[in-house]
Point group: C2
Chain length 521, copies 2
């Protein structure tokens, strides 16, 4: 770990430096990290652009091996990765070890995906020279990498959504070189993982520009990366203001490009009547477990509870209040996240019609997130859009609805969300069924009798959702479907085998699954 900027295979010294803070103690950590500038962004994008032609046509097997090499190199970092991450994020060891497992598992899952080859969507419509009134040419298509991709990591998953996180893996799997903007909250963790990726690039004999790592704190750096004409897509996980700013920069380019920003959500949890009648106390307790896990610093944190008013709601609240009052304050990721959380909770408390139900224990030490639960009426909620905005951390708002119709109205008024959760028994099915079309319109994932935190990395996962949960509800940032973000189709008509990409050559040298005249072979 050197604090240097990693541009392809080169290490560049900075002229300005920044330091991270140990949020658990509030003290600044000694190590100095270079501030990358737009000049470094330019150099990294030039290398990425140069690498593109070779990397985009690298055979799937070699890309798969590369992803596996990255996984191995991350494991090989050893415990220092966990220790640095603990110091920089305040997250506990077990959580970070689990996250490392998830990160490595994600790389290996994508290696399998790349090998399997369906992502290429190879299609062949053979020539019909005898067709009347006009013959048909030989038409073949496959998807290609869109171009160099810029990825911004999240602070709340310093491994799984950061340097070698979901967006990086999906882009590399698709054949896109990645320029990674390092998150300033965990620069040591970031650099260790960046060096692991870089070593895998070298070991696999890939062009150095396949990966660059630019640590920095400035908005100028991020803006320069998104504005660079060689960059063809952006992945981002973070705040709504950050995501929207990047989206605006991308839209203002001479050539606009897609920005996949995952921004904010309150993830409504619907406590349906029969389930609430039967399990109010258990639900109240389990809810607090989900709300306070990791200090609530998850994009899928349950920030909104909807229930039809009545004594069962009071039972739920009593149980939740009890559990919340006993919940320990937990170190938040950064001083600024903690400050935003405190400001958000205070602002919510001061809103008309909002009543504080419970707070968690006051923390000992700096940056401790003290959980909070509020309630309001559906009428007050619907009258005030601010009540539907995310407060990042362990804060949730229960909305008492007069009846099922009012609950539906509250749902209908919500912005796009990552998730919606139904707590229900079979008796609640008619109501759940009536709400389902609305949920399908509003969210990326609908779940029953669980909690939205915990996002499985698999094939059917959708971690996305309509705006403003994300900037592009047509895709996911978790799971194998994420590769589609970074691909575009190209068609070849009457092109000789010698000039065709291997995936769609007549003899199918890669042995890929292909679609002939629309039928998968």
């Amino acid at each position: 770990m050197t604090g240097r900027i990693l541009i392809g295979g080169k290490e560049v010294e900075g002229s300005h430096f920044f330091q991270a803070t140990d949020p658990a103690t509030g003290t600044v950590i000694d190590s100095l990290f270079a501030e990358a500038t737009p000049v470094h962004a330019d150099a990294a994008c030039a290398l990425a652009d140069e690498a593109f032609d070779i990397y985009a046509l690298t055979p799937p097997e070699r890309i798969a091996v590369f992803l596996e090499e990255i996984a191995g190199a991350i494991i090989a970092i050893g415990d220092v990765l966990i220790e640095k991450a603990m110091q920089e994020t305040g997250l506990p060891r077990a959580r970070l070890e689990g996250e490392r497992g998830r990160t490595v598992g994600q790389l290996r899952l994508f290696a399998g995906l790349v090998r399997q080859g369906e992502w290429l969507d190879a299609r062949i419509d053979p020539a019909m020279p005898e067709r009347l009134p006009m013959p048909r040419g030989d038409l073949r298509s496959r998807r290609f990498a869109v171009g160099p991709v810029v990825v911004f990591g999240a602070s709340n998953f310093p491994l799984a959504f950061s340097v070698a996180g979901g967006d990086t893996v999906a882009a590399l799997a698709a054949g896109c070189p990645v320029v990674f903007k390092g998150h300033p909250a965990h620069p040591a963790t970031g650099e260790l993982v960046a060096r692991a990726i870089r070593s895998a690039v070298a070991k696999c004999g890939l062009p150095e520009g396949v990966f660059s790592y630019l640590p920095g704190t400035s908005h100028e750096l991020g803006a320069a990366l998104v504005a660079d004409s060689r960059v063809k897509a952006v992945g981002f996980t973070g705040s709504r203001s950050g995501g929207l700013a990047l989206m605006r920069i991308a839209a203002a380019r001479a050539e606009p490009i897609p920005v996949y920003a995952e921004m904010s959500a309150v993830n409504p949890v619907l406590l349906l009547p029969a389930m609430l009648a039967s399990e109010a106390e258990l639900l109240g307790k389990a809810f607090v477990g989900s709300l306070t896990m990791g200090a609530g610093q998850f994009c899928t944190n349950p920030g909104l509870l909807l229930a039809i008013d009545g004594p069962d709601v009071d039972r739920f609240i009593a149980a939740a209040t009890d559990a919340l009052a006993q919940s320990d304050a937990i170190t938040m990721l950064t001083p600024s996240i903690h400050e935003a959380y405190c400001t958000g909770v205070e602002a919510l408390a001061s809103q008309s019609g909002v009543r504080l139900l419970a707070r968690g224990r006051v923390g000992e030490g700096p940056n401790r997130g003290q959980a909070a639960l509020f309630e309001t009426s559906a009428a007050d909620f619907m009258a005030n859009p601010a009540l539907g905005h995310e407060i990042f951390g362990s804060c949730s708002l229960l909305v008492r609805c007069a009846d099922a119709e009012e609950l539906r109205q509250v749902l209908a008024g919500l912005e796009g969300q990552l998730t919606a959760t139904l707590h229900m028994t079979t008796e609640d099915e008619p109501l759940a069924g009536a709400l389902m079309p609305l949920l399908v319109r509003k969210v990326g994932r609908i779940l029953a009798n669980g909690w939205p935190t915990g996002v499985e990395v698999c094939h059917a996962m959708v971690h996305g959702g309509p705006f403003p949960a994300t900037t592009d509800g047509r895709s996911t940032s978790v799971g194998t479907m994420a590769i589609e973000r970074f691909l575009r189709p190209v068609c070849f008509q009457d092109i000789a085998d010698g000039l065709l990409p291997a995936a769609i050559r007549r003899d199918n040298p890669l042995g890929l699954p292909r679609r002939i005249d629309g039928i998968r072979q």
Copy 2:
């Protein structure tokens, strides 16, 4: 044909009216057509939104039958459709009959696609209740319609890219209600087809809001449609300025939405040396055939020729000049397209370093497009971005490049394109191979030894390309892949069969192909 506005099942009288022009004679056609206004847009979007929940979950078989009913209803219009289209567009009968066949074939192709069911991308990752350290839930996903879609038709394909054209069919196939903004150049043709769709909606018992037709000439109408909060995507084929304006409106919404606009392209044709040496005369003649077909009013018209300078280029030019000088002027689609063509040709003629090589015959009668061929040097071309802009019509520019490297530089400087064409022999393969990565970056379709006009409707077709050929190079507007524009994935976690969409129920009642743990079954 009544000239009325068709909002779902209702017919609405206008208060202001417009008329189309017969471009062949320049005379205004008698029939009056209502000007739809933002008030009508609001009503149509409300109905589309209302129809969405039912239509988006209509079983694939019913959607397929609906598309086939539309095809049948278009055929049932009979010859009056061809006659009206001839009068309104100046296109000849054979072309319009062929286009009707293409339109109907496209509807039937999508019916087959919808039935086959892979477009739903049904995925199932079964529960793993025993998994350690954490069990996995039951995860299922399918794609859903994005929501109501607004489609703007093109003037140059009054059937295949208009009311029941590619975007409409792809959106309807995906389960999206369509609000169609009628093109003012062919309002009678448009209304006849709109009524055919409407009769199919009624016959299939679908909600009336599945389709509305708003004729009109005003920008306000289009702007109101794209700005409507219930609209979730836009399809457009037309000018660069039109597409960019819609993109800006969509980006400025509280909830930005995707705009799929196909805008402009010059479709470079590369005359590689060995082929040029062997077939200069044949190529010159064939080129003029492609250039002048349909008065050059195709998005894939060959507007740019690139060749390495030498005597074979002069042979090509001599043949092309001969053929062009004998080419008849052809009626263009509208007076304003003809005027823009004339202005564009004049402007190109006045650019520094551009030399006129040939013009076609002068036309007798109004709105006749007189073909034009120019030449310039690579240096002049690269120094002046205006030379790379599309002139809609039979106008093309040949660029003489000093050598292969200069040809590569010209290509590298081009904006995104729909197509690139290689005229080549096997001897040219090394050069073609060297250019291939650049072509893949720049275009949606690469073809050899043919002409880019003539876009096959099939599974492997990509009629799209990087900006500014289109606003979204991740998709196509022709072929079955177009359905993906209008879909987004939704995941269901631990949801009981009774609440799941049929496509991902445990017993697979639709008998669909599905992906279990990532493996297609």
